[in-house]
C-alpha cells in the first residue's frame, strides 16, 4: 500500500501487509510488484536493493530477480543459470486511481474506486487506526477509509495498520483542490497526527 507517485520507476520501498514485510518496487517500464522483503541467499532486505530494467537486485551480493521473483543472475557465478528453486515469494499488487494495493491472500474484491480524487501524501502515525478514527470523529468505512473534511477540503484517508500499533494514512483530496489548498490539507494532517499522538501520550 502506497501512493503510485511515491514509487516511480526504479524505486523500491518497504511496506507491510497483514504484518508481513514486503518490498514493493516499480520496473523501468512501469510494472509494479510486491515481494517478501528478504533475499533467499543471505536474508538481506530486498527493499535496500536496486532496479535495473525489469529486475530487482539485492544490494548485498547483487543477485537479480525477474518480474516473477525468479533468480536470473548470480554475479559471483556470471555463467551459471540459477536453479528455478531460487525464487522470492510474491504477493498480488494492483494499481488503481493512483494507489498501489497489495493483498497477501487472493483478494475477494477489487480495490474501491476513488475517482475525482488526487493522491496527496502518505504519513505514518504512531497510533492504531481506531485512535485516528476517534480523533477524526467518524468510523472507518467499508473501503477502509476515513472521509473527513480537512482545511475545508473533502479528503479520503486510506487506513493501513502496520505493526507496532502504528498506522499509515494514504491521503487523497478532491482533484480540483489547488496546490495551496492541498498544502493546507497537508498541514491539517500534521495537526491531526499531533493531536492523536499527544492524546496517546497523555493516556
Amino acid at each position: 500500500m502506497a501512493l503510485s507517485r511515491d514509487v516511480p520507476p526504479q524505486v523500491v520501498i518497504p511496506t507491510f501487509v497483514d504484518g508481513r514485510e514486503l518490498a514493493v518496487w516499480r520496473s523501468q517500464s512501469g510494472r509494479i510488484a510486491a515481494w517478501d522483503d528478504r533475499c533467499p541467499h543471505r536474508g538481506m532486505r530486498l527493499s535496500h536493493g536496486f532496479v535495473r530494467g525489469e529486475s530487482l537486485s539485492c544490494i548485498y551480493h547483487g543477485w537479480s530477480y525477474n518480474e516473477a521473483g525468479l533468480c536470473q543472475r548470480i554475479p559471483a557465478h556470471p555463467d551459471l543459470v540459477p536453479p528455478e528453486a531460487i525464487r522470492v515469494p510474491t504477493v498480488a499488487a494492483v494499481e488503481s486511481d493512483g494507489i498501489i494495493w497489495v493483498a497477501s491472500e487472493p483478494a475477494s474484491q477489487p480495490p474501491p474506486t476513488l475517482t475525482g480524487l488526487v493522491a496527496l501524501r502518505s504519513l505514518t502515525v504512531e497510533a492504531p487506526a481506531t485512535a485516528i478514527a476517534t480523533a477524526a470523529g467518524m468510523p472507518i468505512d467499508q473501503d477502509g477509509a476515513l472521509r473527513p473534511d480537512l482545511a475545508g477540503i473533502a479528503c479520503v484517508l486510506l487506513v493501513q495498520p502496520i505493526p507496532g500499533d502504528r498506522t499509515v494514512l494514504h491521503v487523497l483530496v478532491a482533484s480540483n483542490a489547488s496546490p495551496a489548498a492541498q498544502a493546507a490539507v497537508s498541514r491539517a494532517l500534521e495537526d491531526l497526527r499531533r493531536r492523536v499522538e499527544s492524546e496517546r501520550l497523555a493516556a
Partner: protein
C-alpha cells in the same frame, strides 16, 4: 538460553591502550561486566556479581571469558613479526548477531556491491573456486587460494589488482584474513575482526590489523578500515532472520559461500549457537 560451549571462549572487550581505573561498563553475552585496569595498567575484568574474570592482554585488546576456558587464546604468529604496524581500529557496535558479523567478514562476493570501487567493482564479480577445510589438528576453519579483483585493495594500493586471500576462523566470534600486501610482495597483511557478543542480536566489533606499510599515516589506516566496516554495518543490521540460521533450508548458498557453509557446520558441530537459530523459523 545460555550456551555452555561459547561461555568458555575468549572474547575481546576493550582496547589495551584505552583502559581506565574507573573502567567501562559493557555487556558480554547478556551479562554486565566492567573492563578496567589496575594501578600498574594491567587489565581487570569483573562481573556484576563481583567475580573477577580471567583476562588476556593480546593483539591490542583485552580478552575475557565468562566461563572456564579450556583452550589458551588462539595464536596469531604474525603479531610478533618485526616490521609490522599494529593498528587498533576502534570499536563499532552493530545490531546484529555476532555470528552474522563474522560470516560477512568471510565473504568476498559482496565486495562489488557494498564496497564499490574499493574492494570490488562490476563487472569483476566472479568468485573463482577456492579451497575450504576444517583443520582438525588446530580445530579451525580455513579458506585458501581465494582470489578477487580489487580496484583499491588497501590504503597503500595505487590501482586495481587481483588480490589473494586466506581466511581463518580460530574461535566462534573471531575471523582473521590474510591478503596480498601491495608494498611487500610475498608477505601477507593481517586484518582481523574480533567480535564481542553483547546479546544474541547485538555485538561490538573490534577490528585490528598487522600490516606492512611504512608510508601511510596511522589515522589513514584506521579510517580506511572503518570506512570498509561501516559500509557493511547497514547490511548486517538488515538481514532476516536476525540470528544466523545453522540448518540448511532457510538460506541458499552457492559455491562462492563455501567458507560460510563450513563456518556454519563448524559452529553447529561445537554447539556454538549463541546468536544462531537451529530450526527454520
Amino acid at each position: 538460553m545460555t550456551d555452555t560451549p561459547m561461555l568458555n571462549e575468549w572474547y575481546p572487550v576493550g582496547i589495551l591502550t584505552q583502559l581506565t581505573k574507573a573502567g567501562r561498563d559493557t555487556l558480554l553475552m547478556g551479562e554486565a561486566i566492567n573492563v578496567a585496569c589496575d594501578s600498574l595498567g594491567a587489565p581487570v575484568v569483573s562481573a556484576e556479581d563481583g567475580r573477577t574474570l580471567p583476562v588476556r592482554a593480546r593483539y591490542g585488546h583485552v580478552w575475557t571469558s565468562l566461563g572456564s576456558p579450556t583452550k589458551e587464546l588462539f595464536d596469531i604468529p604474525e603479531a610478533d613479526q618485526p616490521g609490522r604496524r599494529l593498528v587498533d581500529v576502534g570499536v563499532v557496535r552493530v545490531k546484529c548477531s555476532p555470528l552474522r558479523a563474522v560470516e560477512n567478514f568471510l565473504d568476498i562476493a559482496h565486495f562489488p556491491f557494498v564496497h564499490t570501487d574499493i574492494l570490488g567493482a562490476e563487472p569483476h564479480t566472479e568468485v573463482q573456486r577456492y579451497e575450504v577445510q576444517i583443520r582438525e589438528e588446530v580445530d579451525e576453519v580455513w579458506a585458501t587460494k581465494v582470489k578477487f579483483y580489487q580496484p583499491q585493495a588497501a590504503k597503500s594500493a595505487a590501482g586495481g589488482i587481483t588480490t589473494d586471500y586466506m581466511y581463518r576462523v580460530p574461535a566462534p566470534t573471531v575471523s582473521i584474513l590474510y591478503k596480498t600486501c601491495p608494498p611487500r610482495p610475498g608477505e601477507w597483511d593481517v586484518i582481523t575482526l574480533f567480535v564481542q557478543p553483547m546479546a544474541e542480536d547485538l555485538c561490538q566489533v573490534w577490528p585490528w590489523m598487522a600490516l606492512f606499510d611504512d608510508q601511510t599515516p596511522m589515522t589513514d589506516l584506521i579510517h580506511f578500515q572503518q570506512m570498509i566496516f561501516l559500509q557493511d554495518r547497514s547490511i548486517l543490521e538488515n538481514q532476516l532472520p536476525r540470528l544466523l540460521p545453522l540448518d540448511p533450508g532457510m538460506e541458499i548458498p552457492t559455491r562462492a559461500d563455501m567458507t560460510s557453509v563450513a563456518y556454519r557446520r563448524w559452529l553447529k558441530r561445537h554447539g556454538f549457537t549463541y546468536g544462531a537459530q537451529l530450526v527454520a523459523a
